[in-house]
Amino acid sequence: MRKAEIPIQRIIKNNFQMAGAVFRADAGYAGFTLLVRMLSGIGSTFLYVYLLGAVIYCVENGKEPGTILIFLLCSTAFLAVVFALQAYYRHVFAPVRRERIVSGLQQELFDRLQAADMANYDSAMLYTKVTLANEEVAVRPLEITDNLFRGLEGLTAVCAIFAGILPANWFVMGICVVSFAAGIFLSGIRSGQEVQYDEQMKRKDKKLSLLRRLLYLPEYGKDNRLSHVHKVFLDDYRNTVMEKEQIAAEGGRRIGNLSFFQKIFCSAFCIDFLIPLYLSMAVLLWGKLPISAFVVAVNAGDQIQRRLDVFLEVIAAFLKNGRLAERIRDLDNIQCDIEAVGSVCPVSGMRKQGAECAACPEVVRSVSGMRKQGAECVTRPGFVRSVPRMRILELHNVSFVYPDGTPGLSGIDLTIRKGSKVAVVGRNGSGKTTLIKLLLRFYDADSGSILQNGTDIRNFAVSSYRAQFGIAFQDFNIYAASVRDNVCMGEAPEEGRLIQALERAGLHDGSKGTFVNPDAQLTRELEEGGILLSGGQLQRLALARVFYRDSDIVIMDEPTAAMDVFFEKEFYRTVFEQLKDRTVIFVSHRLSSVTACDTIVYMEHGKILEEGTHEELMGLQGGYYRLFRAQFE
């Protein structure tokens, strides 16, 4: 929730920068939109203000009916052209172009998100920023542009009106200006109220949408059917709705009063009373106004009033858009120290000076169109371009604390040699997963270093470094794509290698007759006909990913948590057999399966307490021994 108010200069800046981004993305769209809008403004002014008056004028001055009819015909032709343009724009031109623009902006955001450090997910605040920015990018820039153009259209129309009636009607113009000014003033007061009202409602909405999710999402379906918790949610839901109703009633009344007063003064009094009164006096008392001019002036006043209303909306939208656009700009400051090296400049390894990750000249445009002033790119000293094949991984006195203060690791010393099978075990919260995260460079250690073949891993491009690892995590994801894509994970698929991986993982077995079609779509997310694999099959798929990748180092984090003892045994047998000559790091607390490893590392509270083979550690009768025994009691 934004506590600080955004200054008006910033709001203006946001609006114009976003509009600029849209303009740069597709100047043709901007130009044509402007044209259509202005023509519309002129067209509607003609239709609603001048047409009637012109005809009356002709009648007053005794013009031939034939002339009048021809005039009407030409008017219709003109309007037809304007409408045709409008229709084409609205239904063909604009939607297609807009889709393209939004697609471009969204993909820029994707680039930005991909280049964000994992640490961003840990902080709830930063994570919220990302979600909000994601919501905005598809919508805000175009809203801003449209809003500005709507304002221009209104301006054109009003100018067209004034140009016509100005010479004869100073008073009318004057009243219009007064009405306009009063409208803006009252609107300003009202918008303050509206913002407050909005925020209160939003807070309730947030809670309501949470409760609605609890009440209806299928993932809570079981809970809602098996326990009375449904009642808890429902009561809370009802109470929150009542609170919201109260806000709506009170806030609504206040805003309604202001709106009423504004309407009465600006519309009912100025436009519908004063102007006709003055004009009537002009006709009756001063005899200087023909009736045609009277009609035009009255209609003009009415149209200006409508335009005023629209204009006020445009201003309100301008302010709102400027505020919301800030969310997109928030992303400029997102932390990307680790990912930036390797994602942004994979070739040069260049990094921002001062470790800031706003716009780098190599990246074409950030979503908000921002550029860092005086951006300097420097090559990091010690950068190594190609990552040598792993012979040895060493952790020297590595310590790490999570950004939110949770302790992670403390003084870790560990050596992993090529080809060895290492198991990292310990109770929940002992630091096993943190160790893996640091090995994969999702975070950098606070102190100490991790070396590969003697080189600090921070000197490698992070994507090249990570390419050496094959991963099998407990909470792996299945994507709404084909089996092939789910196994190859974005690499260029090689059919032979794919089939082999599927076979090695046990998904494809000629003798048993179990086949999986590589083209089959997984999950029903995007396709009704997608297939759903069983738990066991999914686990094999995760294994197939590892086999396909064929990396030097494999990391497995709790791969068999949900399996029965037979399956688990077979799983590890497969792994040990197929990955005979690779380096494998297991993280598990299912100890029965890792007894065959070369080295077992027992951790507690972020420290390595015991290290050795299974027999050695059992002999110690320490933490490992106790953990192991607990499984069989």
Partner: protein, 630 residues
Amino acid sequence: MNGILKSMRTMFRTALAIDRRSLLICLAYNLIKQLMNVFYGVYFLRMILAGLETGRSLGHILAVLGVMFGINVLYGRFSQYYNHEYLPVFRLKADCFMNEKIMEKANSIPYDTANSPRELDRYSRVMENSSKRMIQLYQSFGLICGLLEAFAMILYYIVRTDVFAVFFSAFPLLYSYFLGEKSAELAYELNKKLSSAARKKEYAGRVYYLQRYGAEMRTSKIGRIVRGIYREGSAQTADAYRRDGKKIAGMDFLELLLGDAMSMVLPLAYVVVRMLCGARYLLGDFIGITQAITIFSSDVEWMLDEALEIKSASLYINDYTDYLSREVYSAGASEGNQPEHGKCQFRNPGGNQSEHGKRQSGEPEAGQPEDLKRSLPGKFCITFDHVKYHYPGSPEGISALDDVSVDIRNGEKIAIVGRNGAGKTTFVSLLVNLISCSGGKITLNGREMDTYGREELKSFFGVVCQDYKIYPVSVRDNVSIGGKASAADIRDALEKVGLAGRIPDINAVIGKEIDDRGLVLSGGEQQRLALARVIANPFPVVVLDEPTSALDAITERNMNRLILDALKDTGRTLLFISHKLSTTKLVDRILVFEDGRLVEDGNHRALMEKGGLYAEMYLEQNSLCKGVDT
């Protein structure tokens, strides 16, 4: 036409149920509004101009203006009330009212059916659209009434001034009707294409920003595939617009031309032609007639638009009514095949029969035989009698559960074991009546489980599943889960699971979604909280489906012991599913499943002696244990 009447009836009933005055207020608003419009548009200007032309005094003009101003003020006040105070609140009430009904209905649908993609689709469509469309119908109704009033007033004026103009005004009727329907059809088609494309884009967006995908996005190139999905969605969208857009543009052009332009130009032309033929008009009447025709035309167009809106809205409202009133069967039970013993149907809990009336969850259901209302028995026996279950969509001949017969009595401590896919979870789901059997019977004390009320069963079974959830509400609510556990019971339960120190205040909220100061519990702590649920509440039967799989061995052992201890002397029944065979030695009875059948039933010693599947699994597990004396 029938559909529209049906939906109108639903709308009336719903609106009245929400607020008795609602229809009256809507009518009043619209009648006054249209009165204002017609008066202002047709009479006002005409009266002034007539006055000017015929040289009336300024005072006369002033009077007219004054009256107009007065009407403006009155209408403005009412409009303000209606639009800023009444309608927003009414909308909220309608939303809550209708959503509650939908959600309650959804929760009464058997679990297996509810999770099918088609059912989920239907549910989300009804949730998204019902209250919106109801309000739309409500407003359209008022609008149509108002427009009819406007027609009457305008026609009166036109007929009095120039009868022939009436025929002229009927012009829009022709084009609006045909164009309007065609447009709506085209828009609907386009919408369908767009929404499937939008789903792709939305999915891609989620993968990029949700935390759960973060690790894989950075350690593989799956981003490419996801990007591809986004681009597909985008290309599909542009394509759809390109193709369908032209036709829609054509329709729109015609509508604009005939609607906006013609409705202003033609009346003028008409009047001019009449003057050509010698008719004499007061300028005031000239303007009056043209304005009247214009307003009449646009009102007719408006009316026809509203009619189309009503037509489409009524489709959704009828969806809503149908959704609420249908009987739903357990997917496993009815697939077009007759269940074997013809008995298994999930009947709606009685409470859903009435649509109106006060709704309070937990109220005893109406319409059930009285003897079910008494509290459930202390001594009981649950009997499975040749029970079979077949998942919808799974191949013929393969049942998740096949011919299972077993008795479960109060006080027993039972372990359920078997390999993955053996049917353990299906068995337990049937036991707690989450789903209904495809064949055979499940009875509780002789009466079929299906005939007991949902609310009573909720108090009977306490379940903790593998995918248990911790809710973003207070600790107290998380543990009591809507039951009658007192604060003391809850604190006691927290003590037993070892969370008392960690959670000093049971009113603290868990999770940071609603409150930044919410409590964040680790995985192990969450698991213990879930177990506290079945300790704090006096469920006669406690069912645990592998809730400890994410815990390390020591914690798991402690948790299992804890539960067994807590329930030991209470006479409560405990069933738990587990892969780990270490706990099975502590229970009275072990049920062994394989390929959907119950193959062994006995205690540890008996099954070891038998030397069957259980013994094999147990020895297998032990062989992995090296160097531990058991």
